[in-house]
């Protein structure tokens, strides 16, 4: 690529010809986190503690101490997160190739189905139908599942019942197929987790985690504003914090979208 093409991109962003869409929720203590049975180790919730706020603790400056688990807020999953990816090279957020942090996305709109069924599952035939309309999913693309789940209030968003969470996600067959037949770089979801709320009961359990990370691919979850993306052509910038041997991290996910 010629260097002047990059300058053109910068100019297009500046002029608005390329829109920058923020796909990130605000990292805050009240945003729902993954719920595991209490006897397991738990993700530390987001905590923001003031160090000073233009006061006696620091008269001219405001700053906070922040703590959170690697899997809180809008966050990134690296292959090392799951047992299937534990022995892969460069499988953590600090060692993954930087070039994987920028990639195009295919956005599959299933908001109508998810509105009808909180346990809606993406399947191979649904993706094939999408491909018939928008073309084959190219290799090293993100597949983002749009469900408009991010527009719900927090309780409906987490949607916890006495038999677990009920939120949409991919079924096992489509995850295996996307990874093996389409070579996706990763899968993104609007819900808490790349997998469906009931995915612990699937075969294999948590298929998105299982197949993505087993093949060295990535996950994005708690995304929002997917309704502002075209079905194809958006470029996703997703660079997690460089945490030593980190399994993931909260991050700012942005999409570049051509306005024309």
């Amino acid at each position: 690529m010629q260097s002047n093409n990059l300058l053109e991109l910068a100019g297009a962003i500046s002029s608005g010809a390329v829109r920058v869409v923020d796909l990130t929720f605000t990292l805050s203590p009240d945003f729902p986190v993954i719920v595991l049975p209490p006897e397991f180790g738990q993700a530390a919730p987001v905590r923001i503690q003031e160090i000073s706020r233009y006061d006696g603790r620091g008269p001219a400056w405001y700053w906070n101490n922040v703590t959170f688990g690697e899997h809180t807020g809008t966050h990134f999953d690296a292959p090392i997160h799951w047992f299937t990816g534990k022995n892969l090279p460069n499988n953590a957020v600090d060692t993954m190739p930087a070039k994987d942090m920028i990639a195009p996305a295919c956005v599959i709109d299933c908001s109508a189905q998810a509105a009808q069924d909180p346990d809606f599952l993406l399947t191979v035939p649904l993706v094939e139908a999408w491909e018939a309309k928008h073309g084959r999913i190219p290799e090293r693309n993100w597949v983002l599942l749009r469900t408009d789940w991010s527009k719900k209030g927090w309780r409906d968003y987490a949607n916890l019942r006495d038999d677990g969470a009920h939120t949409p996600g991919p079924n096992p067959a489509v995850m295996k197929w996307l990874v093996e037949e389409r070579g996706v770089i990763g899968f993104g979801n609007e819900t808490i987790g790349t997998d469906a709320g009931q995915a612990g009961h699937f075969e294999p359990p948590y298929p998105a985690h299982h197949f993505l990370h087993g093949a060295g691919r990535y996950g994005l979850q708690c995304l929002c504003n997917l309704d502002q993306l075209p079905a194809t052509g958006a470029i996703i910038v997703a660079s997690p914090l460089k945490i030593q041997n980190g399994s993931g991290s909260p991050l700012r996910v942005i999409a570049l979208v051509s306005s024309t």
Binding site: P29, P32, V35, A44, P45, I48, E50, W154, L160
Partner: protein, 413 residues
């Protein structure tokens, strides 16, 4: 005959809120034998080991036989009111603001004569029942009650200064997800609390009993994650000036000691929930409570902690939990000292294992959550500072007093 107190009207915003004053504080070291009795709701006097005579006030030697073998023991409460007087214009600021104030002289059946505060229904020449109470300075004072029940007895003006009765007061129960929290809400409401604010952390998580809490008059569900500084501060910004009694029902119990647990994340959670949560609540709600200690019928009156009795002595099976509770116990003493200028009491309830899921495999006896809730109310009504709820808590206390080393070895099983 006591006139029942009336529900307080809304405050006149043109009037300055009266600041709390404190009754006289100095006491001799020996006199704190009464402080201990008052804190626990016991009536104790010094008794001579040599001649058996009871003594009052606190002395270094027996007034009958001059023996120095005086020990505080539980004493019979009955006496006769010899004389009474009413102070109309006392020189002390605290009593001047509350005048007229009645005091009397009670001849105890067991011997000594005691100068005492009087319940309004105590009549000269009649029998009275004595107690020691903690006044707004946190110091022990004698208080004479009529021998039997009288109408609206708890509404007596002088008695209400000695207690933190929930009647007409507004209470914050900090964690309404737990069974203890929900039982506390019900008990406080039944005790006449005007409003019970019920803190719910992470409201997106459903919880058992939610339907029961919602839609009840006088119960307001509020978002509160005590372990989150901002959440506590935000809630205090809304209701900090309306919390007369705060009941800290934080509950975070995880079994396990040191060596068989990996890492610090559970210990961190324990500290986060119990200890830092306590600090967040204190910093958010404490200053306003301390300032509102004399704010009319529904002045701020008390802060209640529910602590494990293993705060006093580690139970290795729940070792890091015990440590988190010990930290909270230490913090409660700091809070008590800092709330003292406002006349706000800090009451600690010590419990053994509670009948909840985290003590599921622990054999009985276990404390029923309802018993804790009832103890909260009776402790507030009696103006207590320390309560031991259930057999285990009481036994640990006694064994600790008898021989701490023996208790340490016995808990190591």
């Amino acid at each position: 005959m006591i006139e029942p107190i009336k529900p307080p009207r809304r405050k006149n915003p043109l009037l300055r809120t009266r600041l709390p004053a404190s009754p006289p504080r100095p006491r001799s070291r020996t006199s704190h034998g009464f402080t201990r009795a008052a804190a626990e709701g016991r009536f104790m006097l010094q008794r001579c080991k040599a001649c058996g005579a009871f003594a009052y006030p606190a002395r270094e030697a027996c007034p009958s036989c001059l023996s120095d073998g005086l020990a505080f023991v539980d004493a019979p409460r009955r006496g006769t009111l010899l004389a009474e007087t009413t102070a109309r214009v006392p020189s002390d600021v605290y009593f001047r603001e509350r005048a007229p104030w009645r005091i009397g002289l009670v001849k105890m059946d067991c011997g000594p004569t005691i100068v005492t505060h009087l319940h309004a229904d105590c009549a000269e020449g009649a029998a009275v029942r004595m107690s020691f109470q903690l006044d707004k300075s946190g110091q022990a004072v004698a208080f004479a009650h009529p021998e039997g029940e009288t109408p609206n007895m708890a509404d007596d003006k002088q008695w209400r200064e000695m207690t933190a009765d929930p009647k007409f007061r507004r209470v914050l129960v900090t964690n309404g997800r737990s069974v203890i929290g929900q039982e506390a809400v019900a008990a406080l409401k039944a005790a006449g609390a005007k409003t019970v604010f019920v803190g719910i952390a992470e409201p997106w998580r459903p919880f058992a009993g939610e339907q029961l809490l919602r839609g009840q008059d006088g119960i307001e569900i509020v978002t509160l994650d005590a372990a989150d500084e901002k959440s506590a501060t935000d809630l205090a910004a809304d209701i900090g000036g309306k919390v007369d009694i705060l009941v800290n029902t934080t509950e975070y119990v995880r079994p396990g000691g040191l060596l068989d647990r990996r890492g610090t994340s559970i210990a961190r959670d324990e500290i986060d929930q119990a200890y830092l949560g306590f600090i967040n609540l204190a910093q958010a709600f404490g200053p306003a409570m301390r300032m509102r200690g004399a704010d009319g019928v529904n002045n701020s009156a008390a802060w209640v902690n529910i602590l494990s009795v293993y705060a006093l002595a580690s139970w290795p099976g729940f070792g890091t939990y015990s440590a988190s509770q010990a930290a909270c116990l230490s913090l409660s003493h700091c809070l008590r000292a800092e709330l003292r200028p406002g006349g706000v009491r800090v009451m600690n309830l010590f419990t053994g294992p509670v009948d909840t899921e985290w003590f599921q495999t622990v054999p009985p006896p276990k404390v029923a959550p309802r018993a804790i809730a009832q103890a909260i109310v009776s402790g507030l009504k009696g103006g207590l500072e320390e309560m031991y709820v259930g057999d285990v808590a009481e036994e640990i206390r006694q064994r600790l007093a008898a021989n701490p080393k023996a208790l340490e070895r016995e808990l190591d099983r």
